[in-house]
């Protein structure tokens, strides 16, 4: 059976850690990193990448446009 697999790539240096992506992710993929980036912001990262469906909700709602989304159909 085919399954949709997604992946996100976050430009962590441009992320401001606003967490809007986190509450917008339907599968709870994203969390905020304890470390900070060069600007001093905690940044978002895909903590549970296997759950990502590539729905792009996070990227669409990200005010700074730092998230790139990939999606692929994979056979199980």
């Amino acid at each position: 059976m085919a399954k949709i697999k997604g992946a996100i790539v976050i430009d962590i240096e441009r992320c401001k850690g606003c967490e809007v992506c986190i509450v917008s992710c339907p599968t709870g993929v994203i969390r905020l990193e304890k470390k900070v980036n060069g600007k001093g912001y905690h940044f978002a990262y895909p903590a549970l990448p296997d759950n990502c469906t590539g729905c792009a909700n996070c990227a669409v709602v990200c005010p700074d446009g730092v998230i790139t989304v990939y999606r692929k159909k994979v056979e199980e």
């Binding site: 697999k5 997604g6 992946a7 790539v9 441009r14 401001k16 850690g17 606003c18 967490e19 809007v20 986190i22 509450v23 917008s24 912001y41 590539g54 729905c55 792009a56 909700n57 996070c58 990227a59 669409v60 709602v61 990200c62 005010p63 700074d64 446009g65 730092v66 998230i67 790139t68 989304v69 990939y70 999606r71 692929k72």
Partner: protein
């Protein structure tokens, strides 16, 4: 390999520059900018689009949108847009303004550009506060809402009522499309983008102003986290500034709501 170009489904449009946005974390401006630029990109009209930046937080919008832009004096963006559109009727012209810019100091320009039916798009970001100057009361500040110049809350008896300028311009014959949106959830962002597309498509029809309000947060000015600010916006701003179409194709689709 999942992360490879053939599987790409979403990335920042090249019509946004690579300059980091000057906005606070979680501010809706960035999303509004990007959606407008996605529409310009998808319509293939970069070479025919001229934008007007306001005075306010988005004064530097031209640093982020990869199109020809002009920066207007405070409130005067609709006058600039009028001047441009009258000289270049085949170009796509839009203004990008905040609530202080559009609904206080620029009220006359807003009303008259809308009433003349200039064939332009107006994007109006309403966060109920003067963000850039440090969170003072705006024409759209809610009754009882705190700001740096209403530290005990907006007392309507003393400071007057908030202005629902979007409902006001909807009643003018020169507006063709008037709609209110938000960009705080993926669904709302997608709805706003469809509205923005209509605002640009409408310019082909030469039927008048497309006016889109985006109710947005100002988490710095409201002194909340971005996620809390979005929740506060849903609970407090949306009841006063309800989302949805007000006027479509020149016809009113919702009755103007009365100010509380």
């Amino acid at each position: 390999m999942l992360v490879s170009p053939e599987n790409l489904v979403y990335t920042k449009t090249p019509l946004m520059t690579d300059k980091p946005l000057s906005y606070c974390p979680g501010c809706g401006h960035g999303t509004v900018h990007r959606m407008i630029m996605e529409v310009v990109d998808e319509m293939g009209i970069q070479a025919d689009t001229i934008g007007i930046a306001p005075v306010g937080c988005s004064v530097l919008a031209y640093e982020f949108m990869n199109i020809d832009m002009q920066q207007a004096a405070h409130g005067r963006a609709p006058a600039l847009a009028t001047g441009i559109k009258r000289c270049w009727p085949d170009k796509y012209v839009f203004t990008y303004q905040g609530d202080g810019d559009l609904a206080a100091i620029g009220t006359a320009e807003t009303i008259h550009a809308c009433n003349r039916g200039e064939n332009i798009a107006i994007f109006f970001v309403n966060n109920g506060i003067y963000g850039m100057t440090g969170g003072q009361m705006a024409p759209t500040t809610l009754p009882g809402m705190r700001s740096s110049t209403t530290p005990y809350g907006r007392d309507v008896a003393l400071m007057g009522n908030p202005l629902k300028i979007t409902e006001l311009v909807a009643m003018l014959p020169g507006t063709f499309y008037v709609s209110r949106h938000s960009v705080h959830t993926p669904l709302n962002v997608r709805k706003f983008k469809r509205a923005a597309r209509m605002a640009f498509e409408n310019q082909k029809l030469n039927k008048g102003v497309s006016f889109i309000e985006i109710v947005s947060n100002c988490n710095s000015g409201w002194k909340m986290s971005p996620v809390d600010a979005n929740k506060w916006m849903e609970d407090n701003m949306f009841p006063f500034y309800p989302l949805g179409d007000i006027k479509v194709n020149g016809e009113m689709v919702s009755k103007p709501t009365k100010a509380e």
